[in-house]
């Protein structure tokens, strides 16, 4: 059952150099309990997608299209209605646990806050629940008393607090925007396991945003590859990794760190991607990747390539995808 559906989401923002297109027709569906990975280079619009869902785009940005959640178009809701959904039905975890917590409030208060606000729990009840949640995310009593302040915890422990806050109201969707980028390797694996566990346990949909293909491979069932504000490839994680149809996806793999060597079959490594991402102010008319693509042909330039279906719901927005050497 589709829980969250983005339909042709287009986000533009006014900049001193003119209007910039940050998201150009992003569409995808997220089903209840689905674990979806979104991967792409820095600046490709992953965070913008998440913020658009949250209704928290920068003030200068304009969003068009539809973000349908539980039958409502979030883009059309007012701030009050959005406040009822944020944190309650859709929660989010950020990249930087060192700054995502309020330095002057105790962790117990910060976890309890949502419970009191959204669920109307009393002070005592909220604190009891907060302690349970802290325990659930691996911060047991008495070592991690609710009276601790964020500065008394390590980065990994703080990220656990952030996850506890996100879980507090039992949301239907959890968006994790590069939740482990700021952490060391050991904590990274632990936090990802924790996210997978808690979301599976509550049949919560997980939108896992990352620039690391290995993270997608290990933690998600389906995935999107984004490039310059567009979804260029999508499908089950297994299918996308099996074929790697879009030239950009292959380039990403080549540029990704060694962690993949273990996770993937050999022979999947390629040279780094030459060239630069197009400016959001000056997007090319044709395929956004054409400037960097080794397979680019004249027919890639007149207009953006439509998405085409490969096998098993695997789709790619490319005229000359890998694995389709024979004309389709």
């Amino acid at each position: 059952m589709t829980l969250l559906s983005l339909q042709d989401l287009r986000v533009t923002i006014a900049t001193p150099e003119g209007p910039a297109t940050l998201l150009d027709g992003v569409s995808f569906d997220l089903a209840a309990g689905e674990q979806l990975g979104i991967v792409g280079e820095s600046g490709c619009g992953k965070s913008m997608t998440a913020l658009a869902v949250m209704g928290l785009l920068p003030a200068a940005a304009r969003a068009e299209g539809h973000v349908i959640f539980e039958g409502k178009n979030l883009l059309a809701l007012d701030e009050d209605a959005l406040c009822q959904i944020r944190g309650r039905r859709i929660a989010m975890v950020f990249q930087e646990p060192m700054t995502a917590l309020n330095p002057v409030k105790t962790i117990g208060d910060q976890v309890a806050e949502g419970l009191r606000w959204h669920m109307g729990l009393g002070r005592g009840e909220a604190e009891t629940r907060a302690v349970k949640l802290l325990d659930r995310v691996g911060l047991p009593q008495p070592r991690f008393a609710p009276g601790l302040y964020p500065h008394q915890l390590s980065g990994g422990q703080r990220q656990r607090v952030v996850i506890a806050i996100a879980l507090a109201c039992d949301p239907a969707v959890l968006i994790a925007d590069e939740p482990t980028t700021a952490l060391d390797v050991t904590s990274q694996a632990e936090i990802l396991d924790l996210l997978a566990d808690v979301t599976a346990e509550a049949r919560m949909a997980l939108m896992l945003i990352t620039h690391d293909l290995a993270v997608v491979w290990q933690n998600t069932a389906s995935m999107l590859v984004m490039y310059a504000g567009c979804v260029v490839e999508r499908g089950t994680t297994a299918a996308v990794f099996e074929r790697m149809a879009h030239p950009y996806t292959r380039g990403l793999l080549a540029a990704s760190p060694h962690a993949l060597d273990r996770a993937l079959p050999a022979g999947r490594r390629l040279a780094t991607i030459p060239g630069r991402v197009p400016d959001p102010q000056h997007r090319p008319q044709g395929c956004v990747f054409a400037g960097r693509c080794s397979r680019a042909a004249p027919d890639c330039l007149p207009g953006p390539p439509a998405e085409r279906a490969l096998e098993d719901g695997h789709r790619v927005a490319c005229l000359h995808p890998h694995g389709a050497e024979l004309p389709a």
């Binding site: 949250m54 701030e79 959904i85 309650r88 995502a100 002057v104 606000w117």
Partner: protein, 287 residues
């Protein structure tokens, strides 16, 4: 959180604060001032406004520690009672300034756009006039007197607090934990109350001590000009004014209220400085 953590936080502040000379001196001066003012409410060596013409212009002596003025009134008693006046005026004036300025600044930062523009232009308008000048204008408009002095000083405090609050709040609105609070479904007002204000409280407290010192100076200045506290109520500024013509006969009449103002302002500034160091969260984290 629990009262236990609060007590231990207070104890921690005390441990660190004890070692800071400026904080301790400032605190001592301020507490002395408050104590003197409180005592004067129930007891002064002589009745504050009791006139004793034969005993006028006495130099300091065992009977009159700080001497008497041109009407034979005891200077020490008047300085003590003047402390009440200074504190009351400054407290209310800073209260007005912070009470209106902080919400305005917070609103401007939370709403941005047109609201911010209006608030800040209003601020610029008030700020454009030198503090004392605007106070003079207001008292000239509404007539001299302690209440109008309070309002005048209060009004020139508003933009100070509005600007400080807005600037500090704007930088906080960009912080991740505020975005996290928004993601958690908190509205702008709640975020301002729960996240923005607690994080700038220490900044505001420090600014308040400084504004308090400035307000004492301003009150003295206005009274000196005859626009503030009216006779026979004692005021340090008024005492200075009256001493002016007697400068060569009885210089002590100018010295003592002058000293009182100076020590108070210095003490409050030291206190503000000390609090700044004590409350700085970066220092707190280092421990």
């Amino acid at each position: 959180m629990s009262s236990e953590t609060q007590t231990s936080a207070l104890r921690e502040y005390w441990q660190r604060g004890r070692g800071q000379a400026n904080l301790m001196i400032g605190l001592a001066v301020t507490l002395t001032l408050v104590a003197v003012a409180l005592v004067s409410l129930v007891w002064t060596p002589y009745t504050v406004s009791a006139i004793d013409i034969p005993g006028k212009l006495q130099p300091p002596s065992a009977d009159h520690w700080l001497g008497t003025d041109q009407f034979g009134r005891d200077v020490l008693s008047r300085i003590m009672a003047g402390a009440v006046n200074s504190i009351a005026v400054s407290l209310v004036a800073v209260g007005i300034g912070a009470g209106i300025g902080v919400p305005l600044g917070a609103l401007a930062a939370a709403r941005r756009g047109l609201v911010e523009e209006v608030v800040m232009r209003f601020n610029d308008f008030t700020f454009a006039f030198p503090a004392l000048l605007s106070a003079v204008m207001i008292t000239a408009l509404f007539g001299p007197g302690a209440i109008n002095a309070i309002i005048a000083i209060g009004i020139f405090n508003i933009p100070v607090f509005a600007r400080l609050t807005r600037a500090a709040a704007l930088s906080l609105w960009k912080r991740d934990f505020v975005l996290a609070a928004r993601v958690a479904g908190r509205g702008r007002t709640r975020i301002t109350i729960d996240h923005i204000l607690p994080n700038i409280a220490s900044l505001l407290i420090v600014q308040m001590t400084i504004q308090f010192a400035l307000a004492i100076l301003a009150e003295a200045g206005l009274s000196y000009l005859g626009l503030g506290t009216q006779p026979p109520n004692p005021s340090w500024g008024k005492m200075l004014n009256e001493a002016q013509t007697l400068m060569f006969i009885a210089p002590q009449l100018a010295v003592f209220p002058g000293l009182a103002i100076m020590v108070t302002v210095l003490g409050l500034n030291l206190l503000g400085d000390g609090l700044r160091d004590l409350l700085d969260p970066r220092l707190r984290r280092l421990r």
